[in-house]
């Protein structure tokens, strides 16, 4: 059991950030026992379908997105390991977005009725799921502010900062670098820009030595400058956890180069 949980970042995150006890965590972990592998760019959830399963992303990157009738796409969430792909599906009769992988990915599909039953039986699980939903909400609201009121440059920098923190939390930042295996086109669909413009902004950030890129790796060279260029404040990620349950692992003022992920630490 412990061995399983070690590679279940979803449970690890809940363990670190909510008040769930071992019983609940084990129950959730058990629900994740069915693991499936997908290749890059496969559709996990079709838009408009009635959800029968909820998807936990255990490995790889994915996204939630919406398509307009003429093909314009907006990615409403970038998903990283440990994320719930479609938490709304728990409460909603018919989905209004799609989910697709961006890279090869490992996913645990959870039976919706089973998870609902678990939430009905354990108030603390319902609470933890509510917390996950609230964080989703906060992230969407922050992106709203980016899309509506920040410049392309600010927005690109903001995304880089956000990914840095989120990946640090799950132990996927090494030194000052992380792997960013998605295309500029996909970044553009997150930011509401064109890939051409994303390219130009990234070039400008590189030429000013705020970041470096090689292969699929992004290195943050000057965190303070990047943070300032973005107007980034990590409050909305609610790293303090449900009701302050989690450690304040990363501090209010994100340290320049992050210590090893506290989530990964915590279940050794």
């Amino acid at each position: 059991v412990a061995a399983t949980r070690l590679n279940n970042l979803f449970v690890a995150r809940l363990r670190a950030l909510t008040s769930l006890g071992e019983v609940e965590l084990t129950a959730l972990d058990t629900l994740c026992s069915d693991r499936r592998h997908y290749r890059a760019r496969s559709e996990l959830v079709v838009d408009g379908s009635h959800p029968e399963r909820v998807h936990v992303l255990l490995e790889g990157c994915a996204c939630r997105y919406k398509l307009l009738s003429d093909g314009r796409r907006q990615i409403t969430a970038l998903l990283i390991p440990g994320d719930l792909c479609d938490i709304d599906a728990l409460h909603v009769w018919r989905g209004d977005f799609a989910v697709a992988t961006l890279t090869p990915a490992t996913v645990a599909p959870i039976s919706r009725p089973q998870l609902r039953r678990l939430a009905a039986e354990h108030a603390r699980i319902a609470d933890a799921l509510g917390w996950l939903g609230a964080v989703e909400n906060a992230m969407l609201a922050e992106r709203n502010a980016c899309l509506g009121r920040r410049s392309a440059r600010e927005h690109v920098a903001h995304l880089i900062c956000e990914l840095f923190v989120r990946l640090a939390v799950i132990g996927r930042v090494e030194g000052d670098s992380y792997s960013l295996p998605i295309t500029q086109e996909e970044i553009a669909d997150v930011l509401g820009l064109t890939s051409v413009h994303v390219n130009r902004v990234l070039q400008s950030l590189r030429s000013e030595r705020l970041i470096e890129q090689q292969g699929g790796t992004l290195k943050v060279c000057d965190w303070q400058a990047l943070r300032k260029a973005a107007g980034f404040r990590p409050d909305y990620l609610h790293l303090e956890g449900l009701d302050g349950a989690g450690v304040d692992g990363l501090g209010a003022a994100m340290p320049p180069f992050v210590r090893p992920a506290f989530v990964a630490d915590r279940h050794v």
Copy 2:
């Protein structure tokens, strides 16, 4: 008790759209017994504060918003009677947005621990609150798509459509008109535009006879054209309710001019 509930659109909405029974509805209604009146533009929730109360908007208009350090403002939600102003506050330790009234308003502040207790004791209340959160989520995601991928014209039209439907649900549409008591500046902060541009777009919609405006009243003259100009589809509002519990009161294809609000009907 019934008399009270008649003017509690929050409870009325839950009654129509979720599977809550009389016991739970009454418990919630009782929590709303403390009602406070605010004038226009008063701050209900300060950004960054630890939430001790959750706010139910019973009358008037309000908004959730975020301020960037240089004063730019993004309104992340327009709130109408029956809305929960700060549902995230139930799960989150420190808020990351502010709430303010836009018009004179009646608000019921609910003790956060009391509501949390109620949710812990009644799984169906937790479920209903989860549903409210999921709808918030869907609305934020849809606005993301608007901000990122729709033109100003589409976005303005979209907002007009959305308000039409949401107000129809609570019985605040008369014929083809509703009251829109907010300034173009505030609309601009919802849409991520400037008030000058909002003004021009509204003029264009008026000159093409899609809408009319006089005083604080907005009249939809040509619903189909407006809907098409917006690319509006009401799916994301989840009018079918929690797990399809509610009536499909407005139909998938929004009728041109809406029948009397089904919520208001239902508790006569």
